[in-house]
């Protein structure tokens, strides 16, 4: 064993320091411990280079691991947006800027301040939106059409893969956790976070634990009529939250239509994003208020999970769905350069979302903190709800993902937004308590809507006069055109062969699906076999325990029935007893 391994092994022993010191001393003066110090040096160097490393440690220490997970997620999103901005800027925008220095802006349009909010006007003709990109070939080598298509496609595929991996790893964790979250033993022995030192946080965690244990205990003791009442309350809350979300979605749709009819000035385009952000801010507050006043039910925690969490997710999904439907069916028909219009609408949504997040943090959290602590202490301090904040992050990122096809430089705004949000939330978190429900990410909920939106959008025909795909029937036609071009010269036949026989043939997809199904079936059977094995082993442990008791009883009876004549025999019997104890 090398010196390092030996030291590690000693560190792992559950002995006191003095005992370990004895072990260490034997070889300590023979070896140098500079190996460890070199490792530490590299580690500290790497740590100083990473962004916000010190702040993250501070947050984790003060507020615990669930709040830290929010900030880790925020940092991950920021890195992701930096990467996507660099990719888009490098592959799409720079070639265009290099080839065509001056954007072709009509003479009567100039830069006014309103463009920062509305995204229309001067910005419409710049590289911010789809319409600003041409379908030319830069320098006779770089085909803008193909570049645009492949950059966005590859970026989306990478996003999808990253999300699927994170979903798989969190699913594995949550599968185990879900099994044990409802587990009393886990709650009793493993759930207390020892690193929390804030008195208010501790008190709140105690209350949460007490409530959830009490709820669970009471559930066991319910009569039939009470159970029915509980189901009724559940159903009523679900109905309320769903009805509210659908109502908001319908109102947004009618607002969009109204805006269409009176579309005169630029300032009026700000109405829809304003209302959307307002709804996203107010309705969750309304949900939590509803939860606070719901005193008569002893199931606060379960209804909280149902109404507040799922309600919020459903609300945002409904709003996004309504907006996408409106853009695809109405905007695409009406306008000549509809992609830019959709891009502008998304830009406005992102900007207003950012403004409302900042205002919400300031007024909602900071001011009510000040009021709660200094002026009206009876109001109490608002909670830093980790789940709701994570949901906000996912929502803004979904907007950016949908918008990347229409406004390739949208990640730049996201970068700025996340950077400012980090510091804002950090300042706020200092003043707040935090809810301690497990921070199970719901990233997976946003994957299907995003992909559905994109697929549907790609099937629509691009506009005739603007953008890189002008004149084509649909977006995928770019690849077809490229393939027909490649068929001409004698090289790169293999690319054409792959395109025709692999990507366009149904047989390939059929085979892949078949293989995936077979693999899933194999894993399923293995899992079932293992579950059966676990059951049998558990039964074996119980049987061994019974055997042990039986043998001990027999031994004791034997000892009692034969009084010992020979002290040596007595000692042998005692040793035998000890051995049996030791083996069990």
């Amino acid at each position: 064993m090398s010196a390092r391994d030996r030291t590690r092994a000693i560190l792992d022993l559950p002995m006191s320091f003095e005992e370990k010191n004895g072990e260490c001393f034997i070889f300590h003066h023979k070896t140098k411990c500079c190996i460890f110090s070199y490792d530490l040096y590299i580690k500290s160097a790497r740590q100083t280079l990473e962004l916000w490393q010190g702040i993250m440690k501070e947050i984790g220490g003060k507020f615990g691991s669930s709040v830290l997970s929010y900030f880790v997620f925020l940092k991950w999103l920021l890195m992701f947006n930096i990467f996507s901005f660099m990719v888009n800027f490098g592959f799409i925008t720079i070639p265009l800027l290099v080839s065509d220095h001056s954007p072709n802006i009509p003479p009567n349009v100039s830069f006014r301040g309103l463009e920062l909010l509305s995204g229309a006007g001067y910005f419409t003709y710049t590289v911010m939106y789809y319409g600003g990109y041409s379908n030319a070939t830069v320098g006779q080598v770089y085909d803008m059409q193909l570049a645009y298509f492949f950059t966005i496609a590859v970026y989306m595929v990478l996003c999808g893969i990253a999300l699927i991996f994170s979903m798989a790893s969190s699913f594995r964790q949550n599968y185990v956790l879900a099994d044990s979250v409802s587990n009393s033993a886990w709650q009793l022995l493993c759930s207390w976070d020892f690193s929390v030192t804030n008195e208010r946080a501790v008190r709140q965690r105690r209350n949460n634990l007490r409530e959830s244990l009490s709820e669970k205990a009471q559930e066991e003791l319910l009569t039939l009529s009470e159970k029915l009442r509980h189901y009724g309350v559940h159903f009523g809350s679900w109905l309320l939250s769903t009805g509210l979300a659908v109502g908001c979605g319908a109102s947004i749709y009618y607002l969009c239509q109204y805006e269409q009819k009176v579309h005169n000035q630029e300032a009026e385009t700000l109405l829809v994003p304003f209302v959307v952000s307002l709804i996203n801010l107010v309705i969750p507050l309304f949900y939590s208020l509803f939860n606070k006043f719901e005193h008569y039910s002893s199931q606060r925690q379960q209804i909280y999970a149902l109404v507040v969490r799922s309600g919020n997710v459903f609300l945002r999904l409904v709003i996004l769905a309504v907006l996408c439907y409106y853009w695809m069916n109405v905007v695409a028909e009406k306008f000549s350069c509809w992609e830019s219009m959709v891009g502008q609408a998304l830009y406005r949504l992102v900007i207003f979302d950012f403004l409302f997040l900042m205002l919400g943090s300031f007024f909602g959290e900071f001011l009510s903190n000040v009021i709660g602590t200094r002026l009206l202490t009876s109001l109490g301090v608002p909670e830093f709800d980790v789940a709701r904040n994570v949901l906000d992050l996912i929502y803004t990122q979904t907007l950016a993902w949908i918008g990347i096809y229409f406004a390739p430089l949208l990640p730049a705004i996201q970068i700025l937004k996340f950077f400012l949000l980090f510091y804002l939330k950090k300042v706020n978190a200092c003043f707040q308590e935090f809810s301690t429900c497990c921070a199970i990410y719901q990233r997976s909920k946003f994957i299907p809507p995003r992909f559905v939106c994109l697929v549907l959008l790609c099937r629509l025909s691009p506009s005739e006069q603007c953008g890189p795909f002008q004149g084509l029937n649909n977006t995928f036609a770019v690849v077809e055109v490229w393939m027909t071009e490649l068929e001409g010269p004698s090289h790169s036949h293999w690319t054409v062969w792959i395109y025709h026989n692999v990507i366009r043939s149904e047989l390939f997809y059929f085979l892949v699906t078949l293989i995936i199904i077979v693999i899933i079936y194999i894993f399923w059977q293995v899992t079932k076999g293992r579950q059966e094995l676990i059951r049998l082993l558990r039964q074996q442990i119980i049987n061994e325990g019974k055997d042990k008791f039986f043998l001990l009883d027999k031994l004791q009876n034997l000892q009692k029935s034969h009084p010992n004549r020979n002290p040596k025999q007595k000692k042998q019997k005692e040793v035998c007893c000890d051995r049996v104890f030791f083996l069990c």
Partner: protein
Amino acid sequence: MGNKQTTFTDEQLEAFQDCTFFTRKEILRLHGRYRELAPHLVPLDYTNNPDIRVPLALIVTMPELKENPFRDRIVQTFSEDGQGNLSFNDFVDMFSALCETSPRDLKTIYAFKIYDFNRDNFICKDDLQQTLNLLTKGELTEDEVLLVCDKALEEADLDGDSKLSFSDFQNMISKAPDFLSNFHIRI
């Protein structure tokens, strides 16, 4: 190297670094914290290994332990006399076992010792009831306490002897992914 401190000899610091999960700087910082608890009792110069123990009542006033419901049990587990009076070595041991880099097996062993109130190497129903009362500050009713403890025993007890042995406890911990991050005190 800037070895201007006179609290420990070099050999002592090397020994600490080898046998705990702390670096030299952290050991010196820990000594400062230990001394803060009882400045009249703890000398600045530890080079001759004085036999000083800080009593339980002073140790649980530390901000890291003050709000922890298990503070008394934690300190008692790491004390040599079992009453909670910690020498500096015990103090360092305690924070080293509970620090971030401490391995899961070590933490499991100490967690089992902490929850075993009557020190019989089993977590029996009585131990669970005491744990629950500490966690909820006695705000649950008698029936609820009994029910929760019964359920907990039922779920975790594998060999059917109505108490949790160390292997039962270890099995339960292996299914809890956040045990490592929960069972951690930052100093």
